[in-house]
Amino acid sequence: MTAVEALVEEQIVYQRPESLLEVPTHYCPGCTHGIAHRIVAEVLDELGVRERTIGVSPVGCSVLAYKYFNMDGAEAAHGRAPAMATGIKRVMPDHVVFTYQGDGDLAAIGIGEIIHTATRGENITTIFINNAIYGMTGGQMAPTTLPGQRTTSSVTGRDVETTGFPIRMAEMLAGMTGSAYVVRRSLHNVKEINRAKQAVRVAFQAQLAGLGFSMVELLSSCPTNWGMSAPEAMKWIEDNMVPYYPLGDYKVADAVQPLLKRK
């Protein structure tokens, strides 16, 4: 066998999904945005819908997500991605439309938009990155910051007496009748990443089947603003975030159930 033949014989077992562009991202080492992007891209590839997908990026660390996904995209104002996605979907109902939003974007400034998008049963998918902090602006308290968690705007730790309690968005949006599929997953280890990908697939399948609003909340890391190494950040998700934000399926509409059984 010649060297060239040997190359031809090689089987590709892992490569960049077509839905991701071959460009360096600006994300910090140990940040899970890259994993979340990849999961979304792999699912869109596997479903064969890249060419009819329109992504809506938020304001926050993933503000430049449209530069990394290989598909049409828009960049929304802070918190308004679900409204923009609604406008797109209503005139392009055959297209796949998703928002990719952080916790400040979705759970603080944009909470009105996401709740009403869910309650309308808007047939879009939301990927919700919950890392319990404002990353892009340098580590301020988020609506999902844990009690006692130190940030640059809760310097002695989040005091629930004065700042209230972290919001559990998956539980809240599961309460909307229009929600078809609302689940929480985590990206802190391989097993959870695989489970997260399954959920992202079901969320997009639910959209393709026209079943209504779908959201996958992903517990994510921010080692830079948490002041941790990447491994410490993963452990912190498991030890601190998962207990407050239990992983699980919060809303699986009857019509979505058959999608769970499919491999």
Binding site: L64, D72, A83, M84, T86, G87
Partner: protein
């Protein structure tokens, strides 16, 4: 198409539908809610998109999203709701997505009232949002003109890839008068090449107002400014009456221009050389015509339903050549022709007593 008795707000809504409106998103607010109600009745029947949104903030961002796909999209609101939409206007302006917004102004500031006003002239012509930009602003003075300008608004929005306001006041929105609607145009399904339609056999299209590199953002601004300069050059619109030999020209837009017309007509009957100039485009302001008139007349008198906003544009256009007086009512009070006639005669006597 037959002449019908039409209410301003409903005529505006129906004209937009007939201009090929594909998606409407809005939130109820007096005195424009009939636009939303008309859309709620008509759009679903036509198989077009309609959503009563949870807020004006959501409405404008839904418009932004729909317009990103190249669809004709609009919203309508009134002053406080327009304030809430300003963030969206700025994003839309920077990303050059064609959108149409109807603003049926009411008395302010604050919650103010629901009576007719023009107090948001600065808001729509100067400060529709953060950053350096202007929208095209069209101001009808009759139900017929509102219909005609609605149709034109969509064409202008697409021609220049810009935000276009059609501004009325509660008076025009609520009044009924005979007018003729245009024929129904189908929704145009051909999408422009910049639109988000799915990246099939092409590079992805991206619609964003983000540019982190300062020199690159300056380039974006220079491009926007060049476009605005083109608009300023080609899209100045106005109507005028009895200006040929006028010594005094009254300037008013929308309903105050129409009320002023009655007063000017009376002054003409009394033998006074008074004319009327009614700006139809508030941005671009008809500065070329005003500046020419400044060479001819002895004075301008500006009538507005506010504390004096467009008067600044008239002064800029007059370039200090002739005095510019102002008369306005505020808080939703509509001036009657007699008040304006009184202002005209007082000013005219001053102008002619020196001769």
């Amino acid at each position: 198409m037959a002449v019908e008795l039409l209410k301003g707000n409903e005529a505006i809504a129906e004209a937009a539908i007939r201009a090929g409106l594909e998606a409407y998103f809005g939130y109820p607010i007096t005195p424009q809610t009939e636009i939303l109600e008309h859309m709620a009745r008509r759009m679903p029947d036509l198989g077009r998109a309609f959503i009563q949104a949870e807020s004006e903030v959501a409405s404008i961002n839904m418009v932004y999203g729909a317009a990103c796909t190249g669809a004709r999209a609009m919203t309508s609101s009134s002053s406080p709701g327009i304030s809430l939409m300003q963030e969206g206007f700025s994003y839309i302006a920077c990303s050059e997505v064609p959108c149409v917004v109807v603003d049926v102004m009411r008395g302010g500031p604050g919650l103010g009232n629901i009576d007719p006003s023009q107090a948001d002239y600065f808001q729509v012509t100067r400060s529709a949002g953060h950053g350096d930009f202007h929208a095209i602003v069209l101001a009808p003075a009759s139900v017929q003109e509102a219909i005609d300008l609605m149709v034109e608004a969509f064409d202008l929005a697409e021609k220049y890839r810009t935000l276009v306001f059609v501004v009325a006041d509660g008076l025009l929105g609520q009044m009924m008068e005979p007018a003729q609607l245009p024929p129904m145009k189908p929704v145009h399904k051909n999408r422009p090449d910049w639109a988000l339609t799915g990246a099939v056999n092409r590079e992805p299209n991206i619609i964003t107002s983000l540019e982190l590199n300062a020199p690159a953002l300056e380039e974006v601004n220079l491009r926007l400014q060049a476009k605005l300069a083109e608009i300023r050059k080609h899209e100045q619109r106005w109507a005028e009456l009895w200006t040929d030999d006028a010594k005094l020209v009254v300037v008013g837009y929308g309903m105050s221009g129409r009320i002023a017309q009655t007063a000017v007509k009376q002054a003409r009957r009394e033998g006074m050389k008074v004319g009327l100039l009614r700006p139809i485009s508030l941005w671009p302001f008809p500065e070329k015509r005003l500046s020419t008139l400044a060479d001819q007349v002895d004075a301008f008198l500006v009538i507005e339903m506010n504390a004096g906003q467009m008067v600044d544009d008239v002064r800029l256009s007059a370039g200090g050549q002739v005095p510019v007086s102002f008369y306005g009512r505020m808080g939703g009070v509509v001036p009657v022709p007699e008040e304006i006639y009184h202002e005209i005669t007082t000013l005219y006597e001053k102008l002619t007593s020196g001769e």
